[in-house]
Symmetry: C2
Subunit: 143 residues, 2 copies
Amino acid sequence: MFSKTCEYAIRAMIFISQQSEHGMKVGIKQIAKGISAPEHFIAKILQDLSRKGLVQSSKGPNGGFFLEADEIKISLADIVKAVDGDNLFTGCALGLKNCSEKKPCPLHDKFTVIRKQMHDMLLSAKVAEFNRELSQGLKHLKR
Amino acid sequence: MFSKTCEYAIRAMIFISQQSEHGMKVGIKQIAKGISAPEHFIAKILQDLSRKGLVQSSKGPNGGFFLEADEIKISLADIVKAVDGDNLFTGCALGLKNCSEKKPCPLHDKFTVIRKQMHDMLLSAKVAEFNRELSQGLKHLKR
DNA sequence: ATAATAAAAGACAAAATACTCTTTTATTAA
DNA sequence: TTAATAAAAGAGTATTTTGTCTTTTATTAT
């Protein structure tokens, strides 16, 4: 479904959102532990997301990753698009380049429906909406 | 979503179903051309599906791949499971091994819904149901 | 200024996926 | 029984994805 990179990216963004809820910054080591991800790998991923403006970072002591006020509205769909591109939301299920309404693959119509539901679900899911449930231990990001 | 291997597998099975509708067998070359897939690669994939009993084959002149009567009821979900395993239908969206109803990831509930819709769709889609539309040029398997 | 901290960057390695090429085996028809 | 046909099998290559390690750069506090 999602690439490993994308899975880590989503988990990291949700984790940062929760940890930085009150202006705190989070270091890579904390993030890596907090979401059970390889430290250097998640570092790469976050550097990429940072360049793309989905997350902020600052170097030096007391540095780390954090979200700006308006970034809590970032959706999981935004993250997926930034990391895996939008093939999941627009591509053909059977991998046909020229698949379209006019020249559809056998699965085209049925898949378009499912795909839209998935897209809508990910668009409506915002990184910050899980903060409380995570704090209360009702949802998990490890293992 | 699906691996390339799986995309080819689904397209090949649908193609074989259509071509072998009236007891004809199809060679690998025909299949490869018919679905725009690398010949030797699709051969491997079909050998695997053949071992798993999803398609029949016979060697020698007039040989090729074909479906037995009851195999036209094979669903796309069967093919996906045979090729990619059932991670798509049962695994966690965020890649968490221990994600479950009791220890859910943030996306668990929302994703379970989508995943079931996709599973149901693929379970209800049978390889043979596209035969007519393909013959009429209303659906396509190339490019 | 200096030492400590923490992200950024770059090179590298391992594993998985995707794909190719060659040889072997089975079947059929002449 | 021989030649042609077509899948099966196996070895090998290429690319992408995933992950590691080391060095550099920026920031902060002392």
